[in-house]
Symmetry: C2
Subunit: 184 residues, 2 copies
């Protein structure tokens, strides 16, 4: 095993699935300059040093004009030899966001179309990408049966050596397991 | 919003929580050359082009001599200004692995100690790092109440433009939601 220090091998992209729970509608865009005009969630690449949730909120605002807040992480995709990544690998994360505004004002440089679409329609339409379809189905499941079924909430923990803090995402840990200290 | 192509901003590290379900013991190591000898899961940096699960299996084998297979992704940590990452950000992923061999033969260049430890003991000991403790509690919850509560299994899907395939990790999607096509 190599004990040389590592180097950056991945770019990180983040998309936001902004769901209006009152109407069951989700924010979707169609990219400009793509031959296939498939509905997808707005998103883009993380800036250096930017948290996953912050990227999702920023990209959604830039592309669609919608303000939102981070709720959870839903999925992680790893792809190698990604065409836009110059031979590097690509990590693409989809977050669940809650809207804080509703009036669309989309960026014409990035988007061809932008709308609030019924989540069930997005989950089962063919006019979308495989990953959007799958995460729309997952989000629909959460919307119908509880988001705790699908959510990876964030927790901030201290790093042991640096004293810095980091963000950790995983399925909710029940309080019983978090608190338990008796070893019987 | 910038429309320039991105560049690699993250290194990706992967650790493997290898749980022997028959005994309730999990494979842990103590790093050599660290002032704090805390128990942790074996792991290391992804090689370029290497899948998350493959990194976990390879690093576990290199550090401990234990053969294993990938079961699921358990958690994602994002950390900025990571000391070992030269100002880049660090993505650290913990996977659940199943052992295929049991005789430890650890690497003395990397590890000070290596053993099969009772999972409940690891979950509630103070001789570990905050992230190991938390993921050990999560794994103990899954061991007691079913791994479906904590697992992000992997699914392979086709990329729209490149024709390549990628790996997607998220909570299990019930068959009903996967198959449903009637929009009522």
């Amino acid at each position: 095993p190599s004990r040389l220090p590592g180097f950056a091998t991945h770019q990180v992209g983040v998309a936001g699935a902004v769901l209006d729970e009152d109407t069951g509608r989700v924010l979707v865009v169609q990219d400009k300059n793509k031959t296939l005009n498939a509905w997808k969630f707005p998103g883009g690449l993380s800036d250096p040093g930017e948290d996953i949730g912050a990227t999702a909120v920023r990209e959604v605002l830039e592309e669609t004009g919608i303000k939102s807040e981070f709720k959870s992480l839903l999925s992680i995709r790893q792809q190698h030899n990604h065409p836009g990544a110059f031979g590097k690998s690509d990590m693409y994360i989809i977050c669940r966001l809650k809207p804080l505004s509703y009036s669309i004002n989309f960026c014409p440089h990035e988007c061809l179309k932008c709308e609030w679409m019924d989540l069930q329609e997005l989950a089962y339409t063919s006019h979308t990408t495989p990953i959007t379809s799958r995460i729309a189905k997952l989000l629909f499941y959460g919307y119908k049966e509880g988001f705790h079924n699908i959510d990876l909430p964030v927790k901030t923990l201290p790093a042991v050596y640096s004293g810095l803090f980091y963000s950790l995402y995983h399925k909710e840990l029940p309080a019983f397991y978090e608190a338990k200290t008796d070893l019987q």
